[in-house]
Symmetry: C2
Subunit: 502 residues, 2 copies
């Protein structure tokens, strides 16, 4: 395909996120059914004015569902259809797709499972053959589909709340806030778990796509779509395999000079690959090939789930680092050492500051602005005598040091003279520089949660352990190095800071 | 020292935790001072009947503090003193110690800093020389000392709550519940951060000891003391260096055949070691030596903070595994693969089940007890059709398989037909076997938190990511292998299960 054709294909994907009309095939009145939850999502969003298009439940056994007229098949629907969501048993799906061809539908999300992942490869290929006749794009099968807050497209069949046996209703699958991170995931269950994690941590998302067996639309096409999506700053990609290697390499390269991609690639071990094959029919291939592909294309690979989210958060909130030397600023010696250890073991450095910075810090010690027992050669350890003001002056000096490319701040709130005032002043200082900063406070009770939440809210990503903070800044260093190598670091940082100020 | 003398020395350490009388030197009325917080802890615990001994504030400038008669020096106190807590500037500490000799004090906790960690090595050695004259044992200096709920000894100068600039009072340094885990830490700040973490996660502790510069009592002696402490099941040890290598090897070996030790050794990198030197005066030495020492003595080394706590929790709640093959039971494909990947990459295996188990699982599928799309060869993936009952039957079969040495359960609560009933039934099943089980649910909102909390409460350690769960069971495998090698696995497991039932 030439460039114009590629862009046309990409534009078509828009109907997954912003359809003028949608039919839910397999819509149901029975609350235990996926078709009930999904249609309810649309109906709820439609009646509240979030979903602005038309919606049509399709089920031959019902006259109406939740007050909406029900159709026996999509061919009976008088208006045009941009999106169909299919939630019926696998064996009926080809028939539905034939009807979709007749109806000239643009896009189809096939939630149903029972295809390639259990060996029914032919049945799955049949779908693609049918869809190709009318240029219908398919997401799935065996997927959760799309969640996009702004237009109210929500094909997740996992209800937001559940009622326990005690009768209590509790949040079970929350939808997160609006934010900058797109989630693109092969595993549906991991996808909803991600939503739950991000909602609880108050990290917002721009779009959520679960693509399952990806018989048609691939992870790469979706990344290409997100490249042109102004609401997405970072792409988090969970994959068990990658379908077309060349397509991936080409698109990933194109995306990563504009937007960071963090990948969590499962099935890296032999037993893991075996499990992946029976999950989404993935043929995982050698893990080294993936490592090389990610490295070449500037995709940042997360080692595990926590790192995946931690890196995404850092990249969404902070500019990349233009070098690998990290300044560590702490009020707690031990956690400072832990951060340094993690930096060094992941290939970052924590070198002594420049002589000028050391002299300035020493002067502040002599003047009593910093504690007389403070260590200052990097890490700066403000010790148990730390006050709110000390963090501000020390951070400012560290940002100024040309040898420092980014800062890890360990602001353990426990120390007696520290209150919450330092949060705002550190944020203010960091706003003067284009270097990144991440922070850590340890603890799971009120003041720790408050401190981390406040930093997050003001744009400095916070982490619950020193090592997590170090791994997060590692992502900023890796991404910065890739951008520099491709001569687009300045442009990216310029754009990033412009958007951040908006 | 012969064995009897060693035991005598160990018994002496009891006065740190259970003193019949305690003086706080540097007790103060000024709320910003450490001497105020510490004396208040004792005063509060004394008036509420928790601390049953006598307490004496010592400060030449006050007549009384918080209603307790104040003494100008310990030599003026008419009664015997078992414990003194010193919170005065470093240069006065030798004088106080001379008085302690006169007074025949048993134990001294020196909170004050300004010794070896800033190069004042002589001043620190002076303390030891003085103490030796009367056989006084010193904890510290430059430490936080002891927290022990049962007797009300609380020398932490970090107040439990803080008042923010808004006027709101919030939990800042919570004291955790009573439990099985002892925390022994060189870094005070890390120690309180640990308390905050454990309190928030509702993990209880038996004793907390921060030993700082350890001029006298070493980490090894403390571990030896805890070996004979019936309240401690697991020891979590944070160190930046180990003082006497031989003593450590000898004692660690003695302890680990009875109680697991998890170590977090900071300062493993060159820059980290440099930071450690200026923190507690630690001379970190080659990290490989530590690796070898831990390996030889059966001490389990945690790679980072999170693993440290995760492993401690697993060892406190579950018996060790007598082999390294793990059964993975999941309702979510992707997270199942992530657990398998982490198992394999950390040296565990996830082999196919025995033929007998596979046949039984297949029969359950045929009967419709398990979903027809379920994967069963390990992992068992119950898929999105999971119900509460399925987890119970599948777990039972997996426990029975002689090839399975431990189970990771991934019970993602999001799936529609799953409620909370399965928690209790899985706990019941696991109670029939002596093999360990750990669990994971992903999410940070209500039902995820409820699920993890409930499992914890019922004795199955829960984790927020699949990889965390895999690393936790790795600790149970490592410890099991060490016990087997030393022919004491059966005895340990017998004791462990007996205590668990109490």
């Amino acid at each position: 395909m030439n460039a114009v054709a590629v862009m046309e294909e990409t534009k078509k994907l828009n109907a997954f996120f912003n359809p003028r009309s949608a039919a839910i095939i397999g819509a149901s009145k029975k609350t235990a059914k996926a078709g009930n939850v999904i249609f309810k999502n649309f109906a709820y969003n439609k009646t509240r004015g979030v979903f602005k298009g038309e919606i049509y439940p399709v089920n031959p056994n019902e006259e109406s569902i939740l007050g909406f007229k029900c159709y026996p098949s999509i061919t009976e629907i008088p208006e045009e259809l941009e999106l169909i969501v299919i939630v019926v048993p696998a064996k009926i799906v080809p028939t539905i797709m034939e009807e979709a061809v007749t109806k000239q539908v643009k896009t189809a999300i096939i939630i149903s499972s029972g295809f390639r992942e259990i060996g029914n490869t032919e049945l799955e290929e049949q779908l693609v053959t049918i869809a190709k006749k009318a240029g219908i794009r398919i997401l799935g099968p065996n997927c959760l589909g799309v969640y996009y807050q702004k237009t109210g497209v929500d094909t997740l069949f996992l209800p937001e709340t559940k009622v326990l046996t005690t009768g209590d209703e509790v949040i079970a699958t929350p939808r997160p806030l609006v934010g900058d991170i797109a989630i693109v995931t092969q595993s549906g269950a991991f996808g909803v778990a991600a939503l739950d994690f991000l909602a609880g941590r108050q990290i917002g998302i721009s779009k959520f796509v679960s693509f399952g067996n990806k018989c048609d639309v691939t992870e790469s096409e979706m990344m290409h779509y997100l490249l042109y999506d102004n609401e997405t700053k970072v792409i988090l990609l969970y994959v068990e395999d990658i379908k077309y290697g060349r397509q991936f390499l080409k698109i990933a390269r194109k995306v990563t000079i504009k937007k960071p991609i963090v990948a969590l690639k499962a099935g890296r071990s032999a037993a893991g690959a075996r499990a992946a094959a029976s999950h989404t029919g993935a043929i995982a291939g050698s893990d080294k090939i993936y490592d090389a592909a990610f490295e070449q294309t500037g995709v940042i690979r997360a080692r595990d789930m926590e790192e995946f989210f931690d890196m995404g958060k850092a990249l969404a909130m902070q500019p990349p680092a233009l070098g690998k030397n990290i300044g560590v600023l702490t009020d707690a010696g031990g956690p400072g050492i832990m951060a340094v250890d993690e930096c060094e073991s992941s290939g970052l450095s924590v070198d002594r500051f420049s002589e000028e910075t050391l002299q300035k810090l020493q002067k502040l010690k002599d003047q009593g602005v910093l504690p007389k027992f403070a260590a200052i050669s990097n890490p700066v350890d403000l010790t148990g005598s730390v006050t709110d003001d000390m963090f501000e002056v020390a951070a400012d000096l560290m940002f100024q040091d040309p040898k420092v490319h980014g800062i890890i701040l360990l602001g353990l709130h426990h120390l007696p003279a520290l209150r919450e005032k330092y949060i705002d002043s550190v944020v203010k200082v960091s706003g003067k520089y284009t270097k990144p900063i991440v922070m850590c406070d340890i603890g799971e009770t009120e003041m720790a949660l408050y401190t981390r939440f406040r930093f997050d809210k003001l744009g400095i990503p916070s982490y619950p352990s020193p090592e997590d903070a170090a791994r997060a800044i590692k992502a900023l260093v890796s991404y910065g190095a890739y951008l520099k190598k491709n001569n687009c670091a300045e442009e990216y940082i310029g754009e990033f800071l412009k958007k951040k100020k908006m």
